[in-house]
Subunit: 349 residues, 4 copies
């Protein structure tokens, strides 16, 4: 099989590096272009990039020249991990020019005609691409992946929403420093400390899940009908976001039914065979002190979420603890997964 | 002034050491007895204790012989930081024998005739001592201080309860490792990790506040009438517990009224002049990323709590972030403060 | 191929767990017995063990009954990660009874007839087994692997010793908490702290390397003839020991010759094909700030050591920085590697 | 007493903030001017500064306008914590203009006519000021304080050099992140990691001590005659630099003589009464695992150094472990101490 040429926007950042590492042995995709800000443009990737992953830089990208993030990139799909302001300037022109833009930036996530996609959760939302193309005269497309905290939350909510209906949702996060990129969080701010604030995070976590769990009706997303409140914290953890969640349901399950709904959840047939889909998307832990970032973030090669401590809540119906790998499922991995869905659905001709 | 002789139960533990350090220069109290488990009994304190505080061990305790925690201790007040199982065996006999037991153990906190005390919050709860003495024929007394997370929460709730009435309360904690004593949390469990479980903590946090904010009626505590739910986490922080709180009120204040209630809160007159009472018990922070353990735990010499990020909550009325020093106000300091209240109220003849 | 049945002594500890995880898919060995202290004996392994690795417990060990570490274990080889006092009582009887004991305990490391083995470094030291059997009438055997810090140091010294002769060696270590087992280092001792002391570590680091780099002469080890001094520190790192080394050589190489000696080092032919032998045992880093625990400990699947910052030293000839994975190459992995050597050399009939 | 007006260059940085905090209650000095880079100039200090210390910002500086670091500052002494490149441009002009510049920047440390000063160690080195004024026609002066690691090392070396003569010195450092300023070290670089490199640090540590321990001869410093080698590492510690040291002496003391020399060391009479001079400049610890950053950095209010684990070294004569507070004694505090010496010696008219 001839691999599909792909490019990375923001290729020298931490998420960009993760894209490159995850794509090194991808069965369908091959990195043929790397783009970054003007400061790096023109340099060899190896020189432009302060590589921060334990896995060595893949040989095939070392000699790629860093290009500006504009049409002219030699690829079909572009993965974007650009800052949202930069993404606002370059993603749409690339989509007009025919590229399939799989973006991890927040810029277009809430655009009404742009899918906010998790393959196991809402693969039908790609239907919005038709709207996008028709109304904007776009030859390519933009699909987005959600904020890392939203992604792992929604993956665990999907079977609960389907089975019992989510009415109210309260979530407090404890997020790893890798979520802030590099250099990101200063060590003086976080060593033996917690910062109870992450800029822009709470509004995302209070709106993205409803869109992802919504349904398409006549070319529009009708968001899921629940109210949520979020408090977001940065903790001295390298990788893995932990979330303490409480939920009120429309119908009242018992604990066994919740466990059964989570454990039996599988990706829809059209998604199950994508290269990145984990066999078991939601791992239920029964130990009283799990999930933990160190022990559980790599479940399902970092694409599964782990749920534990499912128990009654005095204010809502149930509370539990949720963990996911923020830079795998929650960032680069999620966008690659989305691209796989686009290919299998035939959006990339 | 002749100082009142006091003893420490559990004197070699981390909270015991903090008692000794805080009492080294106390204007009213003087440490004359140290007690610990049988393993240490008979040794000089200096030899029995693996001292873990940056402040050097006070000279006056080095040569005290460690005794068993039984009547016979040469003191009037005993401060107890014993494990709850040991406290269950020794605190009551000491109270019967005439000692004033100021305990930080959880054993007797919820006993109906034992005050669960914060001087700024419920100094009148010492009225239960009369019940205790009458019904148990006790010459001495037991008063208790609450769990560290409960203490700092209740201190911030007090003016809000008085002004607006708390109806529902949701709290997620991020607690420091010093709260677990020594050796306590293993480094392999917590370095670059979060443990979303602390044994016994959530039930305490869901019941102690209601008792502390209750009122005495005919010799009984009528607990405050609100429902709460707690999720407790251990984070890699040395000192300082952070809590994300959401509250529904009976009457609906605006943000300015909440800030005003918190900032204007002062200890009652009879409490304001106690040696440990902080001038401003509740510090309101206006920065978007405060309070933080490193920066705010020492507010008011570790006896004040800091509140920040006061903002509307989509599910309750308001949410905010709360911080206190768990081993100062939250443990040894709180028990000393209680003893000061007992002295000023005349319970220690 | 029928796999060789192996047992683990100290199977419930952190190194014991690592043995089990590394042996789960081993091409030659199969875990058929687990042994631990009396407290666990008789329980199913799954119940007896507080599993601490991110990789899930392999299914084949869950139902094994934990046995006492005495003859009667159903296996040919036993891997020992027992505390040294326990090892002193049980390893020799097992060797007399015919088992091949591959020990990670310090007890017998410096016995004159016991090999202290690193397959790439001194595979001929297994010749001591004949002495051991002859003089002790032993049907089985004991071979040992060195302290974690010694192992990675010696691996990097081997080509330098061969090419230039080590005369004097100075080493300061910064060691990860996983080296102390579980619960091991208390978090209060190490969070945002360094402990400049590790019990028993410095003497090991000042004597084991000379034995490992010695040569066999008439059934005795003649230790390598150099003097060394060590200072050992515990740092808040999960895995990976870093060492700052300075060396005086007998002959005076230039930097290029040192790099060439390290980079061209390969395992001897008889060792190169063992399952655990890394292709490149010594990785030379040229960045000014490498190696680092997070980035380099997994080089060669955790069996290679990384060397960087090779530069002249004003007091010795050269100084450099060395890193290895303390629980892989430095503990369980090293002992398994030794067992592979024994099999390939025909010591396990 | 009317206080001497002083200014801070680099006032918004972490060391600048420490200057302001330490000077808030200084008996001799009063902060009347704050200067920083052009970006901040013209703003109120409170607005320009992202305050990072747990102690609140002193009221007296909140309303000071940030000025450029040029003559025109309303003060007599300026404390400089500027980056070395900026210091190279502004410190000399300020000295020409009559200011006493007490600099913590590395720029002029090794200038032959600039004292590199520690009051307890080399108070006579201020004699170089006369050379400086004569040869450069300078009305003011520049004195410098050393690198943090050099400072604490030299303080401990002074009595040893005087009593036994240092011949060779080997040092490996483990340095706190606060030494790198803010934002400084990225959390992704240091959480659960060690970086075995600090730019420019090793050459400083191999040259500054010799100058400080040198003697003045005919207006020149004759450096102390010993050779040293340093390896510097960044560790995940907030405050406090730890150093593992080995020394060869000219005469051969026993351990008791070394301890006696260190413990009996006191500041010279003219220095003993300066406000910042610690009563006991060198604290000798006898526990096997001390000094540690968390427990010992605040010895002598952060102005004393702690020495422990004094023991024979197989390669040199003795080895020991040394600890100091890098932002107190090692940075702002040291420069203030130097200014106190200048005042007491009459250099500030």
């Amino acid at each position: 099989m001839i691999k599909i040429p792909v490019g990375i926007l923001g290729a020298t950042g931490t998420v960009g590096q993760r894209f490159i590492q995850l794509l090194a042995d991808h069965p369908w995709f091959e990195v043929t272009a790397v783009a970054a800000s003007e400061r790096s443009a023109g340099q060899r990737y190896e020189s432009a990039c302060h590589w921060l992953l334990p896995e060595p830089m893949p040989d095939q990208v070392r000699d790629l020249l860093v290009q500006p993030p504009t049409p002219g990139l030699d690829c079909r799909i572009v993965f974007s991990s650009l800052p949202s302001k930069v993404a606002a300037q370059v993603e749409a022109p690339l989509a007009e020019a025919g590229y399939a833009v799989c973006s991890n930036a927040s810029t277009h996530r809430m655009d009404p005609d742009v899918p906010l996609l998790i393959p196991e959760v809402n693969p039908d939302h790609t239907g919005l691409i038709e709207v996008q193309r028709r109304e904007r005269g776009r030859r390519g497309l933009i699909v987005t992946s959600a904020n890392c905290s939203s992604t792992q939350l929604v993956l665990s909510l999907k079977p609960l929403q389907d089975a019992f209906g989510v009415k109210r949702l309260y979530v407090t996060t404890m997020q790893a420093v890798s979520g802030a990129g590099y250099p990101g969080v200063a060590s003086l701010d976080i060593l033996s400390n917690v910062v109870p604030y992450i800029g822009g995070e709470e509004p995302k976590l209070e709106s993205e899940p409803q869109k992802m769990l919504g349904r398409i009706k006549e070319g529009d997303i009708v968001p899921a009908d629940f109210v949520s409140s979020a408090q977001c914290n940065r903790v001295p953890v390298r990788d893995g976001h932990l979330e303490c969640v409480s939920i009120e349901f429309a119908s009242k399950p018992d604990v066994g039914q919740i466990v059964a709904a989570l454990e039996s959840f599988r990706a829809p047939v059209e998604v199950a065979d994508l290269p990145s889909t984990p066999e078991v998307p939601i791992v239920v832990r029964t130990e009283e002190d799990r999930p933990q970032p160190i022990l559980d973030r790599d479940a399902g090669r970092g694409y599964a979420v782990s749920v534990g401590r499912i128990r009654p809540c005095a204010l809502f119906d149930y509370k539990f603890v949720l963990l996911g790998h923020n830079t795998l499922r929650g960032a680069a991995g999620g966008a690659i997964h989305n691209a796989e869905l686009l290919v299998s659905q035939g959006w990339i001709e």
